[in-house]
């Protein structure tokens, strides 16, 4: 009984529409920013800037639209584990790719 009540007291956080409006505006502004940045001559930095803006936008979506900022540690850890596995797999594939020709010069 008491355990039951304890659990129901930790009601989930309802994110307010104000925050959704704010985040949507930020996402649209970032879209304009990434288009503008692609017309600048930045050399190799063009790709870096484009990806940095995309990562920032994705973080906003995950944290606020997908409520991870307000979620339990289990949920945060799940997202973190997914990100870690993704980066490990891509990173190891790319390290194989860039080191294929080593020693053959």
């Amino acid at each position: 009984m008491s355990a039951h009540e304890e659990h129901s007291s930790e009601e989930q956080h309802i994110v307010s529409p104000k925050i959704y409006v704010l985040i949507a505006t930020a996402l649209l502004l970032c879209t304009a920013l990434t288009v503008a940045a692609s017309y600048l001559e930045l050399g190799p930095w063009n790709a870096v800037v484009a990806l940095a803006i995309a990562v920032f936008k994705a973080s906003l979506v995950v944290l606020f639209f997908m409520h991870i900022k307000y979620s339990s540690k289990l949920m945060k850890l799940t997202v973190g584990a997914g990100l870690f596995t993704f980066l490990t797999l891509v990173g190891m594939s790319m390290s194989d790719y860039i080191s294929r020709a080593w020693g053959s010069f």
């Binding site: 994110v15 692609s38 339990s72």
Partner: protein, 245 residues
């Protein structure tokens, strides 16, 4: 069951919503398990799209001039519009989840309709772009002509793109293969999502979510935002390669 929202049991425990499964201690635990499961599914989706992103990275390094030329044939106006449309649909879906959480049936129905309309708009714009590819002979395997990159024609009001050597021009087919694979899989996710939106809309009109049993809506929200995130990466990678050149 007499009451639609509350089930009463003899003695072991007190009241709980009728949709709470008996193997869960509380609604909080049931909710947590549901979103945990949804996130695990989304992680497999990240791996699925991750494979295509890795292929894109490798080929972009190999055939960079072909990727630049291919990217420049995409319409920046349509691409940017579609990004805006999809972000807005994510926003309306987030509002739908909020309406469901606060038990506003009218708001939920409106949010679902707006999300559905914006999803349709996205696919409409996407099909205009696909049609353009067909007209320009940029569809790998079916209707492809690398010569459009060896002898580029100037668009009205624009300078012609610099011509590519024949071997590099042929590699634009790799760019377009990745373009169709990635945007096509993304569009398929949208189509599945819109089917689910129609289902939820019917359920919402029937009042199925009025009792607070909204795990389906919350998990669909996660799915829809995930599809948005995929596009957030596809847009700069496919449309915005060195626009200044």
């Amino acid at each position: 069951m007499d009451s639609p929202t509350v089930a009463l049991h003899e003695s072991s425990h007190g009241e709980h919503p009728s949709y709470q499964r008996h193997h869960f201690v509380s609604m909080a635990q049931q909710k947590e398990s549901a979103s945990f499961g949804m996130w695990l599914f989304l992680l497999t989706e990240i791996m699925f799209f991750g494979g295509m992103f890795t292929a894109y990275l490798v080929y972009r390094n190999w055939y960079y001039p072909a990727f630049v030329a291919g990217s420049h044939t995409l319409s920046i106006v349509l691409g940017t519009t579609n990004t805006g449309v999809l972000i807005t649909s994510s926003f309306t879906m987030a509002m739908g989840v909020w309406c469901a959480e606060t038990r506003r049936r009218g708001g939920l129905i409106l949010s679902l309709i707006l999300t559905l309309v914006l999803g349709l708009a996205f696919l409409g714009i996407k099909s205009v772009e696909y049609h353009e590819k067909w007209v320009q002979h940029h569809v790998p395997g079916l209707r492809f002509d690398a010569m459009t990159f060896v002898h580029p024609k100037a668009e009205p009001g624009q300078a012609a793109e610099p011509p590519l050597p024949l071997d590099m021009a042929q590699h634009t087919e790799v760019y377009f293969s990745l373009y169709f694979a990635m945007t096509g899989m993304h569009a398929l996710h949208m189509i599945i999502g819109m089917g689910l939106l129609v289902y939820m809309l019917i359920q919402a009109i029937r009042g199925a979510y009025d009792n607070g049993n909204i795990a389906f809506i919350e998990n669909f929200g996660l799915y829809w935002h995930f599809v948005d995130i995929v596009w957030i990466f596809l847009f700069p990678l496919l449309y915005l390669i060195s626009r200044h050149q």
